[in-house]
Structures are given as C-alpha cells and as structure tokens.
Subunit: 354 residues, 4 copies
Amino acid sequence: MSNTLGNLFRITSFGESHGSSVGIIIDGLPSNFEIDLANIQKELNRRKPGQSSISTTRQEDDNFEIISGIFENKSTGSPITIIIPNKDFKSAEYSSLKEIYRPGHADKVYQYKYGHRDYRGGGRSSARITAAWVAAGAIAKQYLEKKFAIKTEAIVSSIKDIHLASPFEYLNWELAETNIVRCPNESISSKMIQLIRDTKEKGDSLGGIISARISNVPIGIGEPVFGKLNAELAHALFSINAVKGVEFGSGFKSTLLYGSENNDQPNSTKNNDGGITGGISNGKAVEISIAFKPTSSISKEQNVENISNEIVPFSITGRHDPCVLPRAVPIVEAVIATVVLDSILINLKNLQLK
Amino acid sequence: MSNTLGNLFRITSFGESHGSSVGIIIDGLPSNFEIDLANIQKELNRRKPGQSSISTTRQEDDNFEIISGIFENKSTGSPITIIIPNKDFKSAEYSSLKEIYRPGHADKVYQYKYGHRDYRGGGRSSARITAAWVAAGAIAKQYLEKKFAIKTEAIVSSIKDIHLASPFEYLNWELAETNIVRCPNESISSKMIQLIRDTKEKGDSLGGIISARISNVPIGIGEPVFGKLNAELAHALFSINAVKGVEFGSGFKSTLLYGSENNDQPNSTKNNDGGITGGISNGKAVEISIAFKPTSSISKEQNVENISNEIVPFSITGRHDPCVLPRAVPIVEAVIATVVLDSILINLKNLQLK
Amino acid sequence: MSNTLGNLFRITSFGESHGSSVGIIIDGLPSNFEIDLANIQKELNRRKPGQSSISTTRQEDDNFEIISGIFENKSTGSPITIIIPNKDFKSAEYSSLKEIYRPGHADKVYQYKYGHRDYRGGGRSSARITAAWVAAGAIAKQYLEKKFAIKTEAIVSSIKDIHLASPFEYLNWELAETNIVRCPNESISSKMIQLIRDTKEKGDSLGGIISARISNVPIGIGEPVFGKLNAELAHALFSINAVKGVEFGSGFKSTLLYGSENNDQPNSTKNNDGGITGGISNGKAVEISIAFKPTSSISKEQNVENISNEIVPFSITGRHDPCVLPRAVPIVEAVIATVVLDSILINLKNLQLK
Amino acid sequence: MSNTLGNLFRITSFGESHGSSVGIIIDGLPSNFEIDLANIQKELNRRKPGQSSISTTRQEDDNFEIISGIFENKSTGSPITIIIPNKDFKSAEYSSLKEIYRPGHADKVYQYKYGHRDYRGGGRSSARITAAWVAAGAIAKQYLEKKFAIKTEAIVSSIKDIHLASPFEYLNWELAETNIVRCPNESISSKMIQLIRDTKEKGDSLGGIISARISNVPIGIGEPVFGKLNAELAHALFSINAVKGVEFGSGFKSTLLYGSENNDQPNSTKNNDGGITGGISNGKAVEISIAFKPTSSISKEQNVENISNEIVPFSITGRHDPCVLPRAVPIVEAVIATVVLDSILINLKNLQLK
C-alpha cells in the first residue's frame, strides 16, 4: 500500500515535483540480468516534459542516476535505486498556489489529510513522480521481452471526440511513435494535434483514451480471487494521475450485447474478454482502455476555493500540458509491465512445481 | 494478494461452489462492536440464488454460521470466521462440464494454471464464493454506518440498452429494493424485467451497469500514490465475476469534455471527479459505475473447446442467472464497504496524530 | 501481520479454545499435490491433549475436517481450510477466571487492548489454536519432503536443568518419538519424566529447551536483508506460546568465543552459524534452540490481580500441562516447515531465472 | 519482506558498502511532525566507523542528505528518503576477496543464490547498510519520545566473558555513552576495552551481548497471534548482521526455574516476562538480550573456500572492527524503535475505536 506497488517485483516511489529529485526503488528483479541503460533513457524521453510543441514548456532532461543494485551492468538481486533530479523547477511560479485549492487537484485533500502541505506544483501529487515509474517500467519491459517475449504497448486512441475506429483491430501500433500525439493513424493524429493546439490557445484542456495491449502473455497469469490480473492492472492504472476509467476487452460496450454475441467462442478472433477470463490470462492479447480526464490545470479563469474556504476567481499560471495523453503513454506501459512481471514471478510456483 | 483483500481490515475468502461450504475470515474489525446478525442474513438474502423469477433456480438459504471471533454478540478483536453451507448443489448436473471449457469461464485457464481442476460448477471460480464476501461486507457496512455514518448503496442502472438517464442524479435509490431487478425507477425496472424474461426464454443472457454511491465519506480517505481510494475500490470491484469496466464520476464521458467543463468548481453541485481527487476522498459522495458483461453461461448452442482442444458445439445446462446484476448489487456494496473500512483504519494515524 | 503468517505460502489462523473449533486457511500450496491425510492426523496426535500421563487431562481427539481446497485428494491451488472441533471444553471450569488476570497469561493485556474478552481458557490466546498450525505444518512438511527432500525435526533437549549434552551432535533424533517427553536419550528422558511428575504433584510447572533441525536445505534460501531465514524463523517461533528465547547455531554461547574459534572454516564439521550465513541458508543443517518458560498456569497458590486491580491470592484450577515441551515439539516443526516452504517458493525466481 | 520492514510505519533499505551510497525510505511517519536533524546526525555518529580506537579505521563522516518527504522541516506524510554517501571506500583493498568466500560471511551464499555478486566488502551484505537504518530509527525514536514518551535504550552488557552482573537491574544506563565500549559500568567497560585491544592485536575478534530496554510502552501494543511484539522485535533484531540469539526477560534462564519462581506476580518488581505477555506489552519495560557472534573478519590466517571450491589458507586484510558491539548499540535501538512505532500505529484502531 501507500508508496509501494507489487509483491515479488515491487517498486517504491519517492520524491516531489519541486524537491531535489524524484526516484524509485525496484525490489525483486531477478539477479544477473543485463540492463540496457540507453533504453531506460529512451523511455524517459518519451515521457519528459518539453518534448514537443503540444506538451508543457517545463524543460527537464530527466537524466537518471542508478545508485544501487547494479554491478558490472547486471542486476545483483539487491534493490535498484534510480534518481531523477528536478532541474527546471521554479518554485516562485507556484507561490500563487499557496493559498488556493485548485479544482480537480489534490491540494485541498492533502491539506485536510496531512495538515501540512508542499504546495509547490502539487508536491507529491504531481505527475512528475511518474518519471521514476517509467524508469522502473523500462527495466520490467526489458525483462519481460528478453525472458518471456512479452511486449507491452500503448497508444492514444482518442482525444475528446477524435478517435480511432477500432483501436485493437488497428494494425500498426508502432506508427504511434512517429508523431507527437502518439496515435498510429496519420490523419487522425493530425486532427488531434490541431485540436490540442487550438484548445491550448483558448486556455483550456483535453482528455481522451489510451489503449494498451500486452502481447504474448502465457495462459495462467494472475491470481484467481483477489489478485486477478485485471484487478491488479486496474489498481496500477488508477494510480496514474487523471485516470477516471478502466475497462478490459469489450468493457462497457459488453453491457449492450447478448451473451451469445459477447462470448469469445474458441474458433473466433473476437477478444471481448480482453485476454483475461476469471482474472487469469487466457492466451489472447490483454487489451485495456484507460480514460484520462482533461487536465485540471487550465489558464482560463475559474472559481476556486482558498484556504479560508472562500470562493474566488482564479487563473492558473505555471507551465502545464493542455492534454496529458501523449506523455502518459509510456507511464501506462510502465505500470502495466510492472504488474505483469510481478504476476509472472508469483506464478512461477505453478509453472515449476505442478 | 491471492485470497486476501485489505490491510488493517481484511477478508480471506475460501470455499468452492460444490464443496461443503463457502466462507470468509474477517480480520481486523475493531473489538467490542455489537454485531447485528439479522442484518447479515438480510444482506445474504439479497444475494441468494432462487430469490426471484429472474434469478437462477438453484435454491440456497445461505444461512450462515459464525465459528469464531464473536463473544457475547460483540467482536473480540480476533478473526471472525463465517461459513455458509452449500446445500442445493447437484454435482451430477455438472458432469457434462468435465471435458469441455466453457467460453467466458475460467475452466481452461484453471486447467492450464493448476493442472488439476474442480470442474463442478466452476469450483473456486464460481460467483457463489461471493456469498461469504457479502456476509463480511454486511459487518463492514454496519461498522461504517454506526461509527462514521457512512452509507454504501448500489443500484442497477442499466440492463443492455435500457437505462436510467442520470443514475447519480436519481433521488430515491432506496426504491431499488422494491423490485426484483433493483432499479429504482418503476417503469424502467419493468422493462428490464421483461427483457430478462424474454432473453432467458431465448436461452441467452444480458449484462448491464451497476451504479454505486458512498455517502458521507470524510475528506482525506485513501493513500496518495499506490493505495489511492479509487485504485483500491477498482481492485476490489474487478475481483467480482463478470466485471469488465469501472469508472469514477464522469469516467469515460469526461474524455469528451473540456477541462473547463469537467472541473468541479467549488460552488457547483457537479461531481465529475466522483468524490475522489488525487486518489483521496474530497468530501463529496463517491460515485462509481461498474460494467458487468452478459452472463457467460447460456443454454443456446455455441462452439466450445474440449479438453482435447477440439472445437465442438455445446449447450450449457445447469441452473444459471440470465442476468447477474440484480444479485450483484449486494456484492458491489460489500466489497466497497470492505475497502472503505480498511482505508479509514489506515487513515486513523492522520486523523489522530497530526 | 495479525493472524496471517507467510507470503507465497501462508496460513491464516482462527478460532478460540472454548468456541466451537479452531482452524486454519492454507493459501499458496502449489496445486496438484497429493496430500496424505493420515499423516496430518498423526501430527495432530503428537500435539493433542491427554496423550500421555504427563500432559493435561483435557481430552480432545483433534480430528480434523477439510472443507475446501482439495479435490480428488489433491490440492487445487485454492485455499485449503481445515477445522478442528473443540469437544471437551468445559467453560464452567473457567468461570472462576472471569474476574482475575492470571500471571504470565494474556488475560490483562487482552482486556486492556480490546476492552472485551473471551475469558474462557484464554480464548484466542490459548495454545489450543496451534492445533490447526500443526495441521498446516503437516502439509508443508509433506511438501518439503516429497518435492525437496527437506526434513524438519525437533526434540526436547532440556527440561529445567536436565539436558542432553550436545543436542545437535546427538545422532538418533528419531528416538525422541519413542517416549512421552520426546527426548531421544532414554536415561535423560526418564529423569525428565520423573521431574515432570514430581513437579505436577507439587502444583508447579517446568520449562526447557526444544532443539530443531532442518536437514537438506539447499544453499540460497532466505532473503538477504529483512526477510532473512533466521529472522523469519524467529518470528514464527516467537509466535508460539511460552517461547522466550531463540538462537541459531552456537547462539548465546558464540559470545564467549573468539572469532577464530567460532568461524566455521570450510573443512570443518562445526556448525556454529547454525546453517545460516548472512540470513541465507549455507548448505549445512539449520540448527535452532528455542527456550520455553515454565507453564504459567500452576495450581500452587499465587498472588494475582483481579479486574478491580486488587491483588488477591489465587489457585488456578482447570486442566493444564505441567510442562508444555513434549506437546510443543510438533508445533515447532510445523511453524518451521511453514516458514521454509514459504522461503523456498519466494526463492524460485532466483533458482529458475538466473 | 526482502528489503522492507514494517507495515504502517515502514522502512525500505537500499545501497551497498562500496557503491555510491546507502539509504532508506521511511514510509508512514505521521505528517506535520517537526524533525530534529541534528539528532539524526548524533545517532549516526554513534554508529559511524572510525569513531574510536576500538573500531574499524575506515573513516566515514556519515553525513546524511534528505531528498524527499520533509517540507519546512516537518514531515508531509510523503516518503522520507535519506541518503548517506560512501566516501572512504577502497575497492582495491577488496580485490583479494573476489575469488574467495570468507567464513561466516555471505560471500558464498550470495554467489549461489544470485549467480552474480558485488564482492567488494560484502556489497549488500555489509553492516554498512545499517547506517541508514539508524537514520530512520532516529526519526522513529524522536516520534516515540515526543508523542508517547517512549524511550528506547541499549547498552553493551557483555564482551566475551566480561559482563554486567544484572544488566536490567543496573540503574544508570545513560553512563554507557560516557565510554567507547558503551557499557555503563566503568570498571567493567575498562576491562572490555582492554580485551578488545588485546584481541585486535592478536588478529582475532570478539562477540558479546547487547541489552535493550523500551520504557513506558503502554499496555496493549503488539498483535496477538502472528504479529506478536516479541516476534516482530526478534525479526527486526535478527536482521542485524552477526546476531545469533534473542531473548526476552528471563529468556533461556527461565527454563531453569519453576513456574512459581518465574511467574511475575502482580505485586513483584520481577520482570521475567520482559514486559510482554501473550505477545502484547504488559506495561512493564520491555527487556531484550541480543547475542552477537564474534566478528567473522579476522586477520589471523584461517582456511577459506575459493570460487573453485578449493580450501586454501587466507588472512583477511581490509579494515574491520575487532568487536562490533559498541557500534551496534544504536543499530539495535533503531530497529527496536522502528518496530515499536509500527506496532503503535497498528494499535491505534484499538485505542481510538473501542
């Protein structure tokens, strides 16, 4: 609970958006695994601020430092600690936030819960802390790919009402990395980018849906009752800032079908169950849709509550993403890979001993 | 993980649909709390099979037995064990299932995961095990109401395309208990019941959406990073059979709004965040929508895989619900109450010591 | 924590000495393992009350009932629930305990901690609850022996000042089962039995030391920092009623040696480290000594505190063991086997994936 | 498990002796608590190497850096991360250790467990990692003292056969800090110091016993079955390098007494139960004895195994403590305070809600 996710493979998150750094401890990676450090940086670059004209203008290189757990480039079995310094933080620009609670943000609930709050840019509640999750997820992804040939991918499938027709039937997900909005269809991605630019101009913000797919998961991953693979994935995904909905396979749309329509019969290519039956991977690709609400920080004036519980008009300054989805794609992949690797390690006893 | 849910208040589930009983251990209920046993039975009756003309015809009284943890009607602080015998199980009627894997069921994944399987009626993967969750949830609900005035309610808000217009704006949720489909609107519930009857007639099945509301949650419940209140609730809800989607507040619909539209400004009655901001309760009612796929067991003939991996036509006999939602309402309430009580106990240190 | 021990293989204890039964849930036993039920009963018989002239006269057959998790005699991967009914409990004989706190017992601390207490025979704090641990341990022992050839044994090596000279150098531990005190040396066991009889006659009680040995543990079991094999074993052993000290290998005696004397050089048969180095099994037998204080319940008159906090003279009636060690031998073996099996399952990832 | 200790208050350890640093994450300290940073350094100084003529000559200032979780000098409720750089490490001096397994050390078991090993000075198995535990423990101690007036103290009560007569009856434990061996009796401490010097001269090493006392623990701390206060303390204490035995109160000596002698009658000052009954604090001081084996690293030549599994003579160079006890005193206090604070937070629900 709290700041730790996972059981046999687990990550412990620390740091704040405007402290010296954010970081993560990765505990339980099997030993003697050679880690591709350049790949970690590549994943961090997919998430880093200032990467494109549609992201926040905060500039962070997000260079990481490994301070434990790796010797001669290979995991030792000891906890791997990764730190990512905060360089371009401007606490001053947040001083205006000291006395107000931003709508949709955790400002007020932290104040009430803890009685003491780092008001600078969200502090601990900032999505900046997910940078370190991405570093951990990069290692999990490497491990899953090299040892089990499992691949974790995500794309942006909708921004507001601009959307891919059938994201999981869409063939070339790798095209998503060819544009700044991370949607694999060129004409749709162009429209998304334009919408984001227009919305930013108006001082407003956008949400959308990220689709994620885990390929090549063997049958049998996930615990059957309270550690269901979908339950663990949902838990991890709802840990990401701004996520308001998670569904597997046909999800909410399944409620509109008859059982005879929704059932994945064995000779069909349908995947309405999204690769998970009874909480356990069934051999098909695991398919997930994740809803992100529009960014809460908008420069448009809105009513806010201040620390004296008065309601006042306020325009949020600071540097914010008009739409977080393009940068959230690697975060989604990271938490998914973290969960899948943990589930696989837990399942080893069934694989090895039965 | 596995068969245990929760931290300070936690439940451990055991039993199978066609063994002698299903049961639960409740660990961590504060001591000296007087338990209303009749209320536990009342909750079990809301879930029990054979309760109405639209549920399965399996008949179980679901009378429970408390075998530890309560002395002179009050909790002692020791684990409370509750057992619910299986009486009306007919293993014979499941012998036809020994050699096939039902679509949408866990038959095949259990066989592959464990190499040994209780094929009778789903065994451990049967929703029958949730009867004991309901008993545990009844105690959690009593505790939340008496000590914190927190109320947990759920209703059926859609069956296929028949739905309440705005479930959370609907005023009289208590009316849901006046009809067998547990939808609070009389004309809509009548249509739902008719649709269920017609669908049963055709040998098919239905899904839908359950809406849940937790009222009077104080500000500050939920851990900020990996134990977010929404993440813990989603984890518990995805543990329920047939759940394929979970969303909070405006959920997937939030993706269609601008930030300025979706933000819950402080002087508004909107609750797009669904009562949770940054993973922590914000003082408004927590509002959740849960998608249940149509029941996988249908008597209509469909293609199935058998244990020799051949595809054969098959009609599922046995006694099944054409639509699980009416009986799932108390299950949803039970797991929600379990999570909320756990989160409240975890938060005591913030309440008491700051 | 609380009533659950272990991670991947874990047991959850429930029940009270004077309720209907005591029991256990065993979660995580790998599936498809054939369980020897007669062996479980055999282990329970080693612990059961009334088994000999030097144990309590309470008569319990300790017949067990398996109510989940086993199908066609083999584990299914689902939680195994075992219940042992309490038959010969005489609550009446404990009514005298309602108003006093027995020295050395948990009566007072339970009253203060929980504010509500089952005063009958210790309730939850009774060693009777360990009967169910023994049943779980029997299964763990079977698994360890059949799958890994690991053997867990314990003997009584001292009662008061009557003791084996060098318990771990003593060859024939299996002889311990040939007498009622469970010490493998015939002349020493005779003296122990005589001392126990004399002490019982005087209305007093005795303590002593149990020695335990785990043979054939592969190198590498145990986590290196906070899940050290010795730390996990000590945790489990201190969970047994009346245990006041635990040591590994030369233990407290090592403090009297020079490093050059205490170090186990590689060509030596010495085992001063007790088979564990740096918290991890080193390939030698794991050797543990466990100190049990003399039974707190004595019929000799002593001063006690009553619930009005007055000090009054009191003689404890009821049926008690003058010395718990002979019956504690299978309890020690059970918790050790539980810990070792858990540690082995946790270590699978190192065995399989490096 | 693994590198994390505790539940509601918990620490996650990271780092190696010859990497860039060692560190700790402290999760769960209640918010809004003002932390005395100078006191953390004071505790670190009690443990740091090179502090006296009888400790290792490795020189580390052990200055710490707080990189998260504290804002305006007070805890925010977010994880507190503390890093202590390694400055005076000389990897070169350990190159001789690359090909041998030192007796009594974890070299061989790490090699077998992980297949890849940081051989420099023990890497992760070095007691250097406990520096960060001391920093965490300093914060726990501050919290326990300020909020609950609970005091945690430890002293050296024996080195080899030189020992205090009755450590727990000894009145002035604070005198322990007036000499470099941390024993409160001047004449005994002088003898200990002389023995350590003589032994170092001979290239040999010494063990001994640390006595620890927790004063002012309220009645009711500790969980009754598997989270007993003594079990949790023993687990934490056995996590410290070189600990081979732990006992509470009269411990192993209780086995030599009759029940009538050992029972702590209510009007007596005896504390044979060591302040814990039935696993729960009983209101008296908690009293613990901890056996440390003599340091495994000795410069005297001994037989060792090398990585080709040959036995060869070897003299360990490098800089080592001839006796670790004086520096282990603050480590013992730190892990005890960590466990007690966690237990107190877990017990809040009983204190507040009954």
